[in-house]
Each structure stands twice: as C-alpha cells, then as structure tokens.
Symmetry: C2
Subunit: 418 residues, 2 copies
C-alpha cells in the first residue's frame, strides 16, 4: 500500500463527465489499497474567464484582488470532485489551500510555497478518506489568499507529495509522457520511460511544457518520485498497467541504464522569449546586480544571461525574459537602471527563440557542443547567444529558424532511434 | 461622518457594468466622507449555476462540499468589486468570510453566525479603505467553509453592521422599499417610509421577501438601523437624497408618529408553504417535542403551529413547513415519529397559502381579528388555520384564494389611503 499524490490538469476536469472519469480513476487506485491525495486544477477555461472578468474592471488588475478571484476556480473543482467520489461510495473530503495552510510568500499571482501543514490530511487518510486539495493556491502569513502562477497546480501536487513523504506523485496530463522533443514538431520523437531529475529540470527550463519548472525543482529538492502520465487513457485501465505508463522522473541514474542510454535525452525549445541587451556598461564588480536586481524586484524571471569579456573597461550584458515581461523589463532598465549606471543603450529583440539539447550523458562525452554548432551551421542558422550548463547547451536563434533547428538537432543526436 | 455597511444583491452585481455602477455608488458615499463596508452577493445566476454543477455530480450534494463550491460566487464578486473601486481611485480591500472570521455553527448550507472579528476591518477603515466583505459565507470552529443559506448576504451585512456598531446598514435591492403589500398583486400598495423592527420581522416571517428574516432578527437583536433601498436609481443620485430613500427599519415607535399611524402596516403572504397534520395523538406532556424534535433535527424550519384543545385524551397537531421540505418532513414523521407515538395518521396539503396582517397599532386596537375574519368570510374564503402574535394575525387558506384575500384585506384596512 502506497501513498500517492495525483494531480489532474484543467482539461482532465473540464466538464462534469470528465470530473466523473477522474473520480473513477481515483476510486480504482483507492480500491487497489492505496492512500490518495488528489490535486485538481480549475476546470479548463475557468481561470481565463475569471482573469478576463477582472481585466474588464481593471485593465491591470490589483494582484491581491486577482488572487482572490482566480483562486475560486480550484475551489469549485475540489468540491465537485469530492462529490463525484462520494457518489461512487468513496469517502472524500476537500481542502482549500488555506485550510491545509499551504503557506506561501506574499508575491501575489506568483507566490512560492514555504510550508504545508499535513496534520488534517494525515488524519483523514488514516480514517480512509481520499483527500482532495486545491492546487495553485495558498495563503500568506497575514492570511491573504495567494496563487502560485500558471501551472502552479503541478507545484502544489509535488509540494504536497514532499510534505507527506508520498511514495509517488502522479501528474496526469494530456500527453502520455516526456518526449525527446515535441512530437507536433518532430513526428519521430519518442517517449522516454525515465528521465533524471536534472534532465527534466533542464528540459522544463528550456521550454518543454510538460511540467512547470518549479514543480520539478520541488521534486528534486525533496526527491519526490514523480510520474508524468496521460489522463486520456481508459479510467478502468488496470492499476498495474497505469503504474508503469508515462515517464518517471528519477533521482539516481542506474549505472546499467546509463550504459545503454543515449548521450542526449531531448531537444527542448521555447519561442515565448525576448532578449535584452544593455550595451557598454562599466566592467566592474556589482554591475550585474545593478542591472538585474531591479528586474528581480519586479518579479520578472530572467533566463539565459550572457556577459562576455570586456573591452576598454566596458562590457555588454544580454539576457532573456518571458516575452510578456519584455516591455516592463525594458522600461525598468530605462527608468531605474540607466540613470544610475553609465551605459550606452538598452536594446532588445522580441523575435527570438531558445533551443537546447539536454542529457546526463553530456557529462562524459566531449564534443556535444561542437556537434550542435556544426549541425546548426550546416543549415545556415546563426547563433545569437550561447549558454551552457553541465547537462544542457542552449542557443538563442532567430525565431523563424526554431522549428528547423529542433528537427535537425533531433536527427543529428539520433533521438529518433530506439 | 458615519460608518455605513452597504449590501448589494446578485442582480446589482450581475454584470461587469453593474459592478462598475455599484463601485460608483460606493465611491460617492466615500467621497461624502463616510466609512464604508460593502457586502456583495454572488453575481446573479452564479450560485444557481454552481449548485446545478454540484447536482449533476451528486443529486443530493454533500452539504460540506456544496458550501465549498457555492461560497466561491461571493469570493469572485468581492475581488471584482474591489478592483472596480481601485480603478476609480478608491482604496479598497476584500475579505472572504473566513478572513474576517465570520464564525458560524457547522450546519452546512444553513449556518448561523456566532461572531465576527472586526480587527482587520477597523484597521483598514482607519487607513481610508473601503472594505469589501463576502456575504453568505463563514467558517466554523474547525475551519470548514460554511454558507448561511439563501439570502444569507443580508444577514452577513446586518451582522457586520452590528459587530462594527455601524450607524446604518443599507440593503440595496431591486425594490425601492417595503410596501403595504406586494404591488404586483395590489397596484394601490404604498411604500412605507419607516417600519418598526417588530413589524418588519412579522412581515418577513409572513413571506414578504424584501429581507431575509434572519437579517431582520439580527437587526433587532443589535438594534442596527437598517434601510431597504433601491439599487436601480442613478448611482450619481445625491447622497442627501439617497439617504432619505427607501424604508428605514426603526426600533422605537415615535409616540407622535403612532398617533397618525395606521393600525395595520401591511398585508403579507406566502404561497411556498405546505401544511402537515398529525391526527389523534395522545394529549400528554412532551408530545409536541416528540413530533417536532425530529423535524428540527433535520434542519427543517416549522412555521405556523396549531394545536387545539384535546378530546378524549387525544389531540391533533398541525404545522406548516416550506413546500420544498414537505416530502422530507412527511417521511420523517412516518418513519421516525409514528412508530414511537400513538397517532392515527399523518396527512398534509401542499396547496395552501399563508396570509397575514401586521401592525404595531394592533396592540391598542381591539377587533382587528374580527374585521379580518369578517372580510374573508364576505368573500367566501374558508380559513383552515389561525395563528396570532401580538402584532400579527395569520390565516392559512386554500392557495387559490390567496390573491383575493390579500386584495380585500389591503382595502379593508385602508392601506391604499395615504
């Protein structure tokens, strides 16, 4: 008997009939003898509907009030899903974020989880209940409602699994696992049966949308075995079979597996990026903080950051942000940063894309970067920025070359071969 | 400068444009120098939509889970209304029921308020905020979400006014005050400028739907001056004029006013009732409790109760319940009561109506009952039950005579005369 946290996305609970199917699926796992904590998202379309209402009243909605409104979507689903379970004769009980005290910071609309009180959940599990907890939402130390930002329900589920020391966390999605790249772009893409936490983190960071990156970070930090699997299979699929489906995120590479494993696990990409360059800034200590500090204060996430060696005591700094944050970031740099540091200009480009190759095997294989750059050069694709980590190489290219880059890299690293 | 609690019903906040109008109205009062606490209902139709969703999943929805779902309607409105106020440049801040700790009992879907913590509200008022509090909802001592039942937002508003010792509580509705009877039935009905708390209580109990009866009870218990007024007037109506509109519920009858006041203030009626008779029960102590105890335990409200003098050690007991509770009440009597007491049969009638005349003047004027009964007799209307209080006389008649009874009584007591 295992303790399993199961998260269902908005599409999976998008109608009364689908909620009923989720209940059937959960009931099946419960009947197999497991303890279940279920984390549903809002019904698909609901969060967007609420945000649209808010924007009609206030084009830039007050963040605190927006969270009050947006967090209702998941509250509706937990009640409905609990009813569906009760109707099947399964004992169930719902909790909002504040009721199990999913304590977060106060960064409304993009809060981070600090702690979760597991007392009520454990008590209900002990008495045979399926516990249904609202994803996406929490409460800050002052008692204000908060939300975790888009995709936050994944994070809620993994954080709950960590707090409860669950045996496994299931993330049910509309895809059946993690692929070597997006099959819509490359039909030859293959599903990975396992992926290491580090690879998953880099894939998510590089734009693979299967899991929200913060949920992967949580999974890694607390070593929560997390399985991405499909909510589109028959709810009556035998538990033994469902338990082996999808892609499992692992934490220690099996040495035997590693022998057989490809050098590269996947090609990830992201077109929702923009790059910003601050030109000719003084090349002195503290300059990176002077530029990026105000950006971070505005809760804008910065992704790739590149600073090359300086010349004549000056240097350039380039970084990427989400395309939605581009205008705000440029304004901050012009209004708050430029007056305080000497810099020639702030420029940027919204039409860029990020393409990455990711793989644990990279650590023991030289020449991956060279092979990647050669592959792109052969197609005449210019590389605008390069950034590397131990298991990932990312390039920024003109947006129009993105699909081509992904396809040729997927082929060059033989990801289409079983 | 006064502290005013203003409650707006579902129709008043039924669309983005209407929420904007409520914000304009509130902003106007704020600009006139008053402290405002605003209690909106859910957007019209929303609560029904949520309950319908719930019933699709569970025909008899679990009460605890239903409250989790239903309470989201008001949570959406408080956020949206706060945004609308902020957009007008008015400082505003929303609170759910649990955030200001509207502590209730645990009778899900029909909870009663025990206490309200006013600390956060007072602090925000002091710093110049309009405070927006969700109506209809609360939290029990175990931290479960609760709702107060239909019309509960009126109760929330009056309870807040009581807790804050507000100068006045405004209940904005789609009618412009309390009338001598329903103008849809009797076009000659007149608006009352004032009505005493006791009269209002009897009017509400007798089916006048302007205010929920529990809100009137709260108003009376804590002597909250409560004004019923229209939300359909121009939001820009001068404050001085709006402050005199509608009907004010008063607590002490002005002796001078009383001189001029009509004996009867209004004729109330209710067609949503059913009567139940338990025939030939032993006429001994404890029998009323034996019959009505199990009904109360099922949270079914009993209204008129009549027990006449017994005969041969036996008596009959008749009472009325809401028509929706009729089948359930009959079942309880047959299953749980009949086996324990000797009684011949449980019978009932769903096609009855209640008609009442209400007025403080009744206390000092004899013969009101006689006049009422004569008036009905002249029209050939048979009286099935009679019940009286100090300021109300209620009769139960066949439903088909209801309109006629109301019209002739309204005329007989000269309520159409200014």
């Amino acid at each position: 008997m295992a303790l399993i946290v199961q998260k269902f996305g908005g599409t999976s609970v998008g109608s009364v009939e689908r909620i009923r199917n989720v209940a059937r699926r959960v009931a099946k796992w419960k009947a197999a003898g497991h303890d279940l904590v279920v984390v549903p998202s809002a019904m698909s379309g609901e969060t967007n509907r609420l945000i649209a209402l808010a924007k009609e009243l206030q084009p830039q909605p007050d963040a605190r009030e927006l969270d009050v409104v947006a967090s209702t979507g998941e509250q509706v689903t937990i009640g409905l899903l609990s009813m569906a379970l009760l109707e099947l004769g399964v004992k169930a009980r719902s909790y909002t974020g504040w009721q199990v005290r999913v304590l977060t910071d106060s960064a409304f609309t993009k809060s981070r989880i600090i702690s979760i009180d597991d007392a009520a959940i454990r008590k209900d599990l002990k008495s045979g209940h399926v516990v249904v907890v609202a994803g996406f939402q929490g409460v800050d130390a002052q008692g204000n409602l908060t939300t975790l930002g888009r995709g936050g329900s994944d994070t809620s589920a993994v954080a709950l699994a960590a707090a409860l020391k669950a045996d496994e966390c299931h993330i049910y999605t509309d895809v059946d696992g993690v692929y070597t790249t997006d099959p819509r772009l490359v039909p030859e893409a293959r599903r990975l049966r396992t992926i290491t936490f580090e690879e998953m983190l880099e894939m998510a960071g590089a734009g693979s949308k299967v899991l929200q990156i913060r949920s992967v970070e949580f999974a890694g930090k607390y070593k929560v075995p997390t399985r991405v699997l499909s909510s589109l299979t028959d709810p009556a699929l035998p538990v033994a079979e469902e338990a082996q489906s999808g892609t499992l995120i692992t934490f220690e590479e099996d040495p035997h597996m590693a022998m057989e494993k490809a050098v590269i696990s996947g090609v990830a990409f992201n077109r929702d990026e923009a790059k910003i360059t601050v030109k000719d800034v003084p090349d002195r200590p503290g300059i990176a903080y002077a530029i990026l500090g105000p950006i971070a204060d505005a809760h804008i996430d910065v992704d790739v950051i590149v600073q090359n060696v300086g010349h004549d005591g000056m240097t350039d700094m380039t970084f990427t942000v989400h395309r939605n944050d581009y205008a705000k970031a440029v304004k901050i740099l012009n209004d708050k940063v430029k007056p305080h540091i000497k810099c020639r200009e702030v420029s940027g480009d919204e039409r860029i894309a990020k393409v990455s190759v990711v793989g644990m095997g990279m650590r023991s294989h030289a020449g991956i970067a060279a092979q990647m750059f050669r592959t792109l050069a052969e197609e005449g694709i210019n590389i605008q920025m390069i950034s590397t980590s131990e298991i990932k190489i990312t390039v920024v290219v003109d947006e129009k070359y993105m699909e081509l880059a992904v396809r040729v890299l997927h082929k060059a690293f033989e990801l289409d071969q079983a």
